[in-house]
Amino acid sequence: MVRAMHWLVIALSLVAGMHSAWAADIPVKEGESIQAAVNRAAPGDVVLIHPGEYRESVYVDKDNITLRGVVVDGEWPVLEGEGKRNDAILYSGNNFTVEWLTIKHFKGNAIMGQAGNNYTIRYNRVIDTGVYGIFPQFGKNGLIEYNVLSGIEDAAIYVGMCDNVVVRHNEVFDNVAGIEIENTRHAIVENNYAHNNTAGLLVFITPGLPIKTTYDVILRNNFVVNNNTENFGAPGSIVAKVPKGIGVVIMAADEVVVEGNIISGNQTAGIVITDLAFVTDIASDPDSEPNPDRIEILDNLMFDNGADPVADVKAAMMTQFKRRGPDILANFGSAQEPDNCILNKEQYVTFGLKKWSKCERTSTADIETYLLADGAPPREIENDEDRTLRLYQGICAGCHAYNMRMIGPPTVAIQALYHNNAKGIADYIAEPHKVRPDYPPMPGQGHLSEEIRQKVAEFMLNVKK
């Protein structure tokens, strides 16, 4: 009985504990600021954005924040950039979700991530937001699904320098590039509809970036149709050099599987596989491996591609006494080597695939997802001892040397003053006041928790040299 009581107490305290940690909904109505809500939000909170127009940029530098639009009777919340604001949403926190927003007329990107892991970007409508629509960068484990994007002058969905990404069920049209996977590993692009772009799906290694590889990418079950839009990329950008009329471009990337796609009506070619020579007028990077290796083209439905190819492709096809472009084009160079493979090659119009081998596998059905079941883990959180050491050496030691005057008094002098009174130090550093006329005032450390201030204070009292 006592034992049961005991459990009850524990259970109650757990519930109580959870209650305080429960996610709050923070509503934002038209006329209010989304950013103000984000600033108030604590990790776990959901910012609910009600229908209306919001003329602002929003940045999220906290973990576990959700921005969720509320759609009422067909009315959406709209972030309006008026052609003058930079990006609609910038995030750097982990476990970030953004959904149910309409985003229009920004200069830079609609949604841009810098280093947040475990991101979810879904159910958004993105129209003419400048350079990219959705652009996560330096993130691990991300899901991009059910977004509709158009009118973007570079890539509508651009996954740059990420790991473990799934891009699915999106519609991208009237952009220069539909969906681009660049310097990224372990990505699946599936069940998307890429139409009326300059090029539909692109898998690239771009040279000159700090992360150098692209490999293990699956493009499957997408519609890649009628990507014949004139290239309206910004001068100097890499996609501005992509010829119009291409369904899929694989440049320098390795281990890309193309399977189960419907690729039709792309007037230059259905699929182009090429080394880095495809993009001219770019500074070379000896650390970027330029050749596409181990590409696998499994069964796809391809027809009506190459009806009106750009001049270079037309010229190449003339060497085979054909006037129309190919379903599949392997560019001159390593793209034509036999480490690449294809199934049922004879059904397509091809160029440069003479040496390609026959693929061993017929399907990627055994690969369900590249998302991580438990998410990207935070770095093995060090114990308090490590954190204390880093705080002391990383911050305190900048001003306090052991037995030498620096910006602040020497540690020995502080030890002599406080003896065993660590709490005295912990309280003082939360709200320092000027003690010594011949020293500058100490910056407050109130942003550190009481517990960690106490630990740092104890550490300081025990510093030996």
Binding site: F138, A283, C399, Y402
Partner: protein, 393 residues
């Protein structure tokens, strides 16, 4: 293995004999006392075994593919570290000692002046005989994180890099022979090298380079107000600075695409086409090293930490202020490329159409990257007996 051991034993014997034969042991002792090397690590480092290791809150974060680039809470690239406290301190003394230059007029600190962000405040540095160097002296803050050194990235280690300024006739104009002769003539240095290198007082060139590399790697600046923001204390930046940070990382200004946190450099080569001063011919940059025409005008992307302290800016010091440097990027793609030159300009050089206010905010934000809390002590005297040299004389 056996051979090496016996060589070491011989060296020890030689050291012992030298010590015995020194005519004035008291002087040596005095010199040694005056310059005894610190047996504790510099600020920010913790002794672990024999070596000093950086303690930074950034160690709590990962980076994708261990690249050391990303966003706010992103781990650092690997640091050159593990040097002993005495090696670092010996490096500090060497760094400020003009005995390292051919005519004993310059130290490393002539062009890497701690009071000027470890740069020299000049567009082009000045050598020991007044010669103009080819490029601007870069800051040494956080240099231990860099995998490639010099504006044209031609050196891949600090040891390799320092051979440039030490022996270049336009800079310190020394020779390895003279450097060794001068250092070995100093009883104080023999004593200090013995302290730093397991009792070996013979003074070898690689020991000189190790000590200077050790000191340079200890110049850490990761405690700016920006860093407090990054670690989660958002009140550390004011509104103007946060606005500037958002412009900085926006995909319109695109600063963070190359000046990527946490070091504010992604350490790649970029051709951006900045103008040369006074009609000087175009500096071919990396292309002069590699012979690759597509890299003409390419330079290593510098870190922006402590950038407010190191005017003027760019490889040739063409821009006097941060405002001018920022403004370059909104002047139009290739606007400063000399007629007839065809450069493979970086794709991020475009036409962001930043407003004047946005440029001001960018300058505000870059100012929040200033942190000199781990400033090393400038020695009052150096072991050669020469006066320490700091800054341009």
């Amino acid at each position: 293995m056996e051979k090496r051991y016996s060589a070491r034993a011989l060296r020890r014997l030689a050291v012992a004999l030298c010590l015995l034969w020194l005519p004035l042991p008291a002087t040596v002792h005095a010199a040694g006392a005056e310059f005894s090397l610190k047996d504790y690590c510099p600020a920010g480092f913790q002794l672990n075994g024999e070596g000093c290791y950086l303690q930074s809150l950034y160690a709590s974060y990962d980076s994708l593919q261990d690249s050391g680039v990303g966003g706010l809470k992103t781990g650092l690239p690997e640091l050159r570290q593990g040097f002993s406290p005495r090696q670092i301190d010996l490096g500090r003394l060497l760094f400020f000692d003009p005995v390292l230059s051919g005519d004993h007029s310059m130290s490393c600190a002539s062009c890497h002046d701690p009071n000027k962000g470890f740069s020299d405040g000049r567009a082009l540095s000045v050598g020991s005989k007044g010669q103009l160097a080819k490029r601007s002296a870069p800051s040494l803050w956080n240099v231990g994180f860099l995998k490639r050194l010099f504006w044209d990235a031609r050196a891949s280690s600090l040891e390799e890099q320092m051979l440039g300024p030490l022996y270049d006739s336009h800079e310190m104009a020394n020779t390895p022979e003279q450097l060794l002769t001068d250092l070995r003539a100093s009883s104080a240095y023999r004593e200090l090298f013995a302290q730093a290198f397991n009792g070996d007082s013979s003074i070898q060139l690689d020991q000189v380079y190790t000590a200077i590399a050790a000191f340079e790697s200890s110049l850490i600046s990761l405690n700016s107000r920006y860093d407090l923001y990054a670690h989660g204390y958002h009140e550390a930046l004011n509104e103007a600075e946060i606005e500037g940070m958002n412009i900085f990382r926006s995909f319109v200004a695109r600063c963070a695409e190359c000046h990527t946190p946490p070091l504010f450099s992604h350490q790649q080569i970029a051709v951006i086409g900045t103008p040369e001063p006074n009609n000087r011919p175009l500096d071919p940059g990396v292309a002069a090293v590699t012979g690759d025409a597509s890299q003409r005008g390419g330079f290593k992307v510098p870190s922006l930490r402590n950038i407010a302290l190191t005017a003027p800016y760019m490889h040739s010091g063409r821009f006097a202020t941060l405002r001018e440097a920022a403004e370059f990027y909104t002047g139009g793609r290739g606007h400063a490329v000399p007629p007839g030159e065809k450069l493979s300009l970086h794709w991020h050089i475009w036409e962001p159409k930043l407003t004047g206010e946005e440029l001001d905010r960018l300058v505000d934000f870059m100012g929040a990257l200033t942190d000199e809390s781990f400033m090393p002590q400038i020695p009052a005297s150096v072991p050669s007996g020469l006066a320490p040299v700091v800054g341009v004389q």
